[in-house]
């Protein structure tokens, strides 16, 4: 009886802690926004309460041992009488009951595995996500290429082909699905099917070197019509500069080392080492979630990416401050 009460108190305390911590921004597996993530959450609470029960049971035994210890006289002899209930207790608790609980949990977990294994319906869309040190390249079938921000239509199953250009990365957006590694030579896929619109944070989960901490990915789930509009816009070539400084910036961009690594579709810049910048200004972050996409952070990042993201492939710029400002003007116009 006290065990059950203990389970309730302890379990509720931990559960409350968990829920209290779920600020809306937590990429938590306890705020699922897809069927797959709900499966994970279901399995979590099942095993959570089982675990709490086991821990409280064991704690009750330990408390009982301490009580007996406190009640024991200092000098008591050796007690060699066999504990008749001992072996039976060990077999029943350790083998029969534990075995049954484990078998049940295993069965439930297999059902969840099967449910996730099947396709979530015919994919409405297949996109490719390539993990790179330390950002994500995102390719759509219509030729649109973007980075670190994946847009998907709400309620439509999207298949994501996961690959890597260098080391092993792992794609993990907790509120939408489990994680899936990106291993050289393997054709791994994961399905994204968001229940409601929103911006879901994800992060590389396999240690991949210096900037593993700054390899964020966002999944932006939009109403289908809005998504179609976005996709069409992303497929289009880059906007032309609308001011003279931005024009100067474009020329500088194309002449300097920028274009060696970055592509801007519709211009001669066709580098493939860094993110495609065709619609850079339509993204909310730069540096794979390192900084927000605003003039100040962008200027700093172009001046010396090593400040915010030490180890990143992008070298400090050789541009003068005026030139830098012009290039940033140009980039800010790449809606």
């Amino acid at each position: 009886m006290s065990t059950r009460r203990g389970t309730g108190v302890f379990g509720t305390a931990v559960a409350l802690l968990l829920l209290a911590a779920c600020s809306d921004d937590s990429p938590s597996i306890l705020t699922p926004r897809s069927e797959a993530a709900e499966r994970v959450q279901g399995l979590w609470w099942l095993t959570f309460w089982t675990s709490v029960f086991v821990c409280v049971l064991v704690a009750a035994f330990l408390v009982q041992a301490v009580r007996r210890g406190r009640a024991t006289a200092a000098e008591e002899g050796i007690d060699k009488r066999p504990v008749l209930w001992g072996p039976r207790f060990i077999v029943i608790a350790g083998l029969v009951v534990s075995g049954a609980v484990l078998a049940g949990t295993f069965a439930v977990s297999l059902r969840a595995l099967n449910a996730l294994a099947g396709p979530a319906g015919d994919p409405a869309l297949t996109i490719e996500v390539v993990g790179r040190n330390w950002w994500w390249e995102v390719r759509y079938p219509n030729g649109a290429v973007t980075a670190n921000e994946i847009h998907i239509p709400v309620g439509r199953p999207v298949e994501v082909k996961l690959s890597t250009a260098d080391v092993i990365h792992s794609f993990w957006v907790p509120q939408l699905n489990v994680k899936q590694d990106q291993v050289p030579g393997m054709d791994n896929r994961i399905s994204l099917l968001a229940d409601e619109p929103g911006r879901y944070r994800g992060q590389c989960a396999e240690f991949c070197g210096l900037q593993h901490a700054h390899m964020l990915v966002y999944v932006e789930a939009q109403p289908p019509a809005e998504f179609d509009q976005w996709l069409a816009a992303q497929g289009a070539p880059a906007a032309s500069p609308t001011s003279s400084t931005a024009g100067t910036g474009r020329d500088l961009f194309l002449r300097s080392s920028c274009a060696g690594c970055h592509a801007v579709r519709g211009t001669s810049a066709a580098g493939t080492l860094g993110p495609d910048l065709t619609h850079l200004a339509s993204r909310e972050t730069i540096g794979a979630g390192t900084l927000s996409m605003q003039r100040g952070p962008l200027t700093g990042f172009v001046r010396n990416a090593q400040d915010a993201k030490p180890g990143a492939a992008m070298p400090p710029t050789e541009l003068t401050p005026e030139e830098l400002s012009a290039v940033v003007d140009y980039l800010m116009g790449l809606e």
Partner: protein, 637 residues
Amino acid sequence: MTTVLEPPGWKDELTEELDETWHSPPGLHEWISTVDHKRIGMRYFYLGMVFFIIGGVQSLLIRMQLAGPDLDLLSPEAYNQLFTMHGITMMFLFAMPVLSGFGNYFVPLMIGARDMAFPRLNAFGFWVLLGAGIFMYSSFAMGAAPNDGWFNYLPLAGAEYTPGVNIDFYTLGLIFLGVSSTGGAINFIVTILKLRAPGMTLNRIPIFVWGELAMALQIVFALPALSLAAVLLTLERKFGFHFFDKTGGGDPLLWQHLFWIFGHPEVYIVALPGFGIASAIIPTWCRRPMVGYTYIVIGELAVALVGFGVWVHHMFAVGLSNITLSFISLASFMVVIPSGIQVFAWLATLVSGRPKLSSAMWFVLGFIMIFVIGGVTGPMLGAVVLNQALTDSYFVVAHLHYVLVGSAVFPIFGAVYHWGPKMTGRILDERLGKVSFWFMFVGFNLAFFPQHLLGVLGMPRRIYTYDEGLGWDAYNLASTVGAFLLALGILVTIVNWYRSKRNGPVAGNDPWNGETLEWYTSSPPPHYNFVTVPTIRSREPMWDQPELAGGAQAPSEGGRSLTGGHVTLSTSLLDARPQAIVHMPHASPWPFYFAVALTLLFFMILVELWYVAVLAGVASVMTMVGWYWPRHETQET
């Protein structure tokens, strides 16, 4: 009893004779030459604790960097080197050496042998550990410590993505260290199977000794996978082979398989001796025999066996077939059962006994609670879908620390209070012991429990910083505070150890009224361990054979004096019937020289000075010749 009475004073005469036979002169030469398992055990223990402190300081630096969002205490490179070396240090240079150290010290004592089966191999194992430790830590002097995690995944750890010598320190260091662990494991197996006191049949072997045996068997079968992986990676990095390189026809997953075929059993290699320590402490302080001895022993061996079938649960997210995942998932659920059986046997003993709440006992109680919390998250991570959600998140960091700190650190600290008096001859301060325990217990839980929640809230492992506003800040701060409390608790025991060693109450042979043979001899024991090697008639000889209390079972009671040189008794494997008198080798400096030559060899391979490396290799062979050179045992008369 038959009336073959010994002449009065037989014990003193015998002691004098043994003292003379086993006498070793003081001096540096003797210091490097000793093969006394107790001195070697102490060295393992002290060296392991030094590395524990170093690894602990590394973890405090890590926790300071993560105390809040966007902190700048450590550079990403420094962070990566620290978390990598923290893992390597705690697994290979702290837990394994200290647990081997207790094994070295107590296995011969508990089974009634006068030394380990291969005393020189034993000495060699320690010197290699020291050499390998210096080798790996010299990487910090070059600013190039291993930096790709203790799991060291390819292709990140290949020459393309991690040029420099960081990973060479890792691969060569682990190959080198494997020599020590493998030799030590073989030594344990032979010692336990062949050198037990007469009458110590299989079902009378102390559970701690079973734990060391299970550990040794696992090392012998698991470590080759790691050594092989390290050799292949060395070839790939230094000579351009393609074992793990996809573009050259290799496979990066090969590394993961080889690593975890070793890496998962490694968890049990560290845990099983810890279980054994708990099983040594509980009966003494509960003053009753362990309930379910047979279940515990079968449980330990079953864990050791099934532990080999679960390695793929470290790879559930790499994209293997669901059939594979299901089988490994099943094995991962199954391995819980033999561990659970041990827990319930401990609980049954605890609540049916009259436990004395000593410091040692508190550490065991803490161990059980922590290990169970780490245990229940095991099946969570064994369930494929939940694993794929939680793997590589802080949930796993919490899980592995609950399991490993639970099953290694807390029992080790329990053993410090329980066995420390045997090792130093002085009893540790009990009040400080309890203070230390509560700081460690509260600190540990404060440090690691919130990490479960961080994992659930989506925080990945091995990141050197994180953004604010994700609900992670408070838990990280709590974790850092907890880590410092834990460190404080550890410090209290270290101070206690040194204070008590000097001024503590004298322990005498058997301060706790223990049940096994280590309490049969003086504290600390003489070089030859026992005046007479006893004949055993019970699983708890010290409780059931009152004639042992005097510290020397008389020959008429079955005690064997075994004079005439460094000898011990070899007995049959199953029922420990006397078979032969074994002559033990004397002290020798050659194991030390051999280890020095090997250390030089590994440094030369590292820096690719091949000519010097060949010379060091030749020198190694020469030291082996010296080791085995036949000579007259002049010390014997």
